[in-house]
């Protein structure tokens, strides 16, 4: 049984009202299921409340957003008043908002319901960041901070790149954490569970956005839910590279934590990454493995007539938006082609300001916010073949929408939108050992 502090017992026993009591009850059931010995304090929650799923819409129609929050986010059937969030809480990506209106087959009702949910949750103190990359726009955890996050690509980024500590939480655990400032102290919250388990050594140089994504896709497939330590001839990755690497590893596998010795904060050295334990036999990533990943990500593509290009999974950095704008400057999309760049609304404001949005829109592309085709289960009307520079989106979208997929570099994707044809090919590997 999880041991509660006096403060936690008071919350459980109703001192702070029914909703907080229900939240603590859920956390106790969850902690006991995990076998957690105690809860940890958190002041950073990233969850998801606002997207109107069919089940949520049904509850909303029965009893408003309070009812939906009680049932879905607290696992509680009582009629309760939702109090203000006790600790800072943000909304992750959700459905498309008003910028989608009229340009895709997405229901007006869903846009309206989500706007209504946003008003409700904002009034309770939830920051509507509306992105899978909260660490880009106002929620940057510090090293060692205990946080309660959902979204697999954000969880792996927070644990690995930032050195914050979170498990892959869900809708109910983040709901309960927002009202209590507590989450079970289990798994990734404990230092002994954060050391590496597998050693992956690259024999080819890893540099640039595409190669980091393919390497991540390989690593996730090899280790599944374990904790890889990756070494080899690695270039200096930037935010977009590691965002792509982690998202890919959390798609082909369930990686929540990795180490790159000398690059990520829990791994100053290879030895530190393994906590001083004996190093496991390395698994090698060479030119053949790289080629196999590329072919796997392109195995759903058949027709070379591309009608849709998607950039920004996870949501694009400013540099990624700039890269698309530079590649599109002075060009025009093929008739019938669409190109979407997904980014947080706060970054879209910067892209508007410095002219990148205008460049992309002049060519016929769009910079969109809040969501993505996979989250909202929507693509431009009539899409049959799409191209993306994201291993994660190439992994998920064909299954979700029943369309074909091509995976390539950002520039190859932009070219496909301009010409309407897929002409991507894998650049030769730079074999270093």
């Amino acid at each position: 049984m999880v041991a509660l502090t006096d403060e936690e017992k008071a919350m459980r026993d109703g001192r702070d009202g029914d909703a907080v009591a229900a939240a603590m009850d859920l956390l106790v059931r969850y902690a006991d299921a995990l076998g957690a010995e105690h809860l940890c304090e958190t002041r950073n929650v990233a969850g998801t409340n606002t997207q109107p799923s069919p089940a949520k819409t049904k509850l909303f129609e029965e009893g408003g957003w309070s009812k939906a929050f009680a049932v879905i986010s607290l696992d509680c059937d009582d009629d309760i008043e939702v109090p203000p969030m006790k600790v800072p809480t943000c909304q992750l990506q959700h459905g498309f908002g008003e910028d989608a209106r009229g340009i895709m087959p997405y229901s007006e009702r869903a846009i309206e319901l989500q706007a209504d949910a946003e008003s409700f949750y904002s009034s309770k103190g939830v920051n509507i960041l509306a992105t899978c990359t909260p660490y880009q726009v106002g929620n940057l955890p510090t090293y060692g901070e205990h946080i309660a996050w959902m979204e697999s690509s954000a969880v792996v980024y927070a644990n690995s790149v930032l050195g914050a500590r979170t498990n892959c939480e869900g809708g109910a655990s983040t709901g309960a954490a927002s009202l209590t400032g507590r989450i079970p102290c289990w798994g990734n919250h404990l230092v002994e569970n954060r050391y590496g388990t597998h050693l992956i050594e690259s024999g080819v140089r890893i540099d640039g956005f595409q190669d980091w994504g393919m390497f991540g896709y390989f690593v996730g497939d090899v280790v599944q839910e374990a904790r890889p330590v990756v070494t080899g001839e690695l270039g200096q990755p930037d935010l977009a590279d590691l965002k792509h690497f982690g998202a890919a590893a959390a798609s082909s596998g369930g990686v929540e934590m990795y180490h790159i010795p000398g690059r990520t904060p829990d791994a100053p050295t290879l030895e530190a990454a393994f906590g001083g334990a004996a190093l496991p036999e390395p698994v090698r990533y060479g030119a053949a493995e790289r080629r196999a990943v590329y072919e796997s990500l392109n195995s759903i593509g058949d027709s070379e007539d591309v009608d849709f290009v998607l950039i920004g999974c996870p949501h694009a950095t400013l540099e990624q938006i700039g890269r698309v704008a530079r590649a599109l400057d002075g060009r025009t999309l093929s008739p019938g082609s669409e190109l979407w760049v997904m980014t947080p609304r706060a970054l879209r404001a910067v892209a508007d300001r410095n002219g990148w949005t205008a460049t992309i829109e002049r060519a016929g592309g769009r910079v969109l916010t809040d969501s993505c085709p996979a989250m909202s289960r929507v693509a431009p009307a009539g899409t049959e073949v799409f191209a993306t520079d994201s291993a994660k989106q190439a992994h998920y979208l064909p299954a979700i929408l029943g369309i074909e997929a091509w995976f390539g570099t950002t520039e190859e994707c932009v070219d496909a939108a301009v010409t309407g044809r897929w002409r991507g090919s894998l650049a030769p590997a730079e074999v270093v050992r």
């Binding site: 969850y30 697999s152 969880v155 892959c168």
Partner: protein, 152 residues
């Protein structure tokens, strides 16, 4: 590996000893998945079926079955998708899984069906087959196979 430890008792029952994480008792027909299951992008809560294209049970409905599987994979939406099966009336009858993660633990709780995990000796995914009549006791942590289909 040894056979099912436990009391292949007098009656010929198979008993798997684990830890109950959602209380309650249920008895029904087993549906066994040898692969982990995705929530978001892996199941359709409206129909209670597995929809992941490459999955061994793609197209199979788990509603009202004792779902026996190795664990959860994929998105953090896992628990929310299984919770939706409860809200839409398509939930499994009980859950038995071997690999405990936050996704699967929270998912079982919000699906509110008797659930057992943490098996000490034997692997129920290997020992139970689809169609077996299985009792899941979330209070005692016992999973008991009462009647089984003739083995091929």
């Amino acid at each position: 590996m040894s056979g099912p430890t436990s009391d292949v008792a007098q009656s010929g029952r198979l008993v798997f000893r684990g830890r109950g994480i959602v209380p309650g008792r249920a008895e029904g027909e087993a549906l066994v998945s040898h692969e982990t299951i995705s929530g978001w992008g892996g199941i359709d809560p409206a129909t209670g079926t597995i929809i992941e294209r490459r999955h061994e049970l793609c197209g199979v409905c788990f509603t009202g079955k004792v779902l026996v599987f190795p664990g959860a994979k994929g998105s953090s939406g896992w628990s929310g998708f299984f919770q939706a099966t409860r809200l839409l009336g398509t939930a499994p009858l009980a859950m038995v899984f071997t690999h405990l993660t936050t996704k699967a633990a929270l998912g079982a709780i919000v699906t509110r069906v008797p659930t057992v995990t943490d098996f000490a000796d034997d692997d129920p995914v290997a020992g139970i087959q689809t169609g077996d009549r299985v009792e899941v006791d979330g209070d005692t942590g016992l999973v008991i196979v009462h009647g089984r289909l003739p083995r091929a």
